[in-house]
Symmetry: C2
Subunit: 204 residues, 2 copies
Amino acid sequence: MRDRILKAATHLFAKQGFDGTSLSEIASAVEIKKPSLLYHFRSKAELRVAVLASMLDHFKAVLPELLAAAASQEQLASVLRALVGFFRADRDRARLLLREALDRPEELRGLVHEHVTPWVRMVEERIRQGQADGSIHAHADPAAYCVHAIQLVVGGLASADSLGVLLDDDPEAAEARLTEELLRMLHRGLYRPGAEGERPPGGE
Amino acid sequence: MRDRILKAATHLFAKQGFDGTSLSEIASAVEIKKPSLLYHFRSKAELRVAVLASMLDHFKAVLPELLAAAASQEQLASVLRALVGFFRADRDRARLLLREALDRPEELRGLVHEHVTPWVRMVEERIRQGQADGSIHAHADPAAYCVHAIQLVVGGLASADSLGVLLDDDPEAAEARLTEELLRMLHRGLYRPGAEGERPPGGE
DNA sequence: TCGTGAGCCTACCGCTCGGTAGGCAGCAAG
DNA sequence: CTTGCTGCCTACCGAGCGGTAGGCTCACGA
């Protein structure tokens, strides 16, 4: 039951925000009453922390994969693809993260510093290597590039519903099209054309 | 007074969200009581609509400039710079927009369709021209590129507080550095290097 | 001088919120 | 059989919410 509550709360917080979701609402989503919910989580604040911790656990579970992708000699696109994969696996993750960035930036700053920095440092290093061997634009700012890549992946999935209308496609096709262009754009934003087999993911 | 309320509400909604802000809070920010506030705006919902409309008015005011920049023979970077300028002029705008995208995607979709589409169509056209004369990558997806550009500008300014820690700089320097790389990245994501005087904004 | 409306106030309404008290079924161990 | 724990319930609490009623002051025009 604890897990069911966690899952329902994650979904509702992501969809309506923390302030826009009541405990009764979450309780009724898992077919119990509010005091029963408060038996499992002592307060709403505790539930919020648990929801965040749960998402962080999922992220930590895929972190080795991300780090391995960054460390390998493969192209960086695979790192970005893994990142997109993590957030596409559950769209609530992107929404939740974005809400946290808006509602509690200081708190999120700490989490980012602790858990995302190692990954970013590794990608940075790979980018600098690419710059040294000439495959990556010399005037790219490695760290800033990483930040923008994360922003694109998270923001893109969270706001696809609103901005998708700018494409004429149906929503599903629009999302696929956006993801493809996202990967190509991140690729073009980094690699110099024609360099050592680094091809854009979508083909030409 | 109506304007003062609007301004305070904009700031608080952007910072804490609609559900996280009470009418008393807004009232006390302009040093009146809640019923006096409700004299100027009949309900909280009406105030929300007014806040959004006010931001939209500001956007409509700069739209001609954006369209002119897109239509001119200058490089597209100036369009993006104008877009960044609009959101940097008041950071609440980016936050508010992102919150709206999360809280009321259907509603925002309508607004986007009505007010942003003309600008996007124009930029698309310019991109296609660039593709025809070879200055822009042939495999770029013009509309999807525009969507990502908007996401980067809006999301970047709204979440700079959280993600800025990934750079070691102090917050102010981090933001400037991110904006510079953002423009360069958007440039590299579009233009083929060395094509007809299209230089990245930051120089090399 | 008086009426009128704008703009603000205090006092209050019903409602929902997060959270607590206390009880009741079921089950497992002594 | 009893004891005690788990997991749920109903009933309730105070606080804060959005919103209303009605009255006060003050400026302004007839």
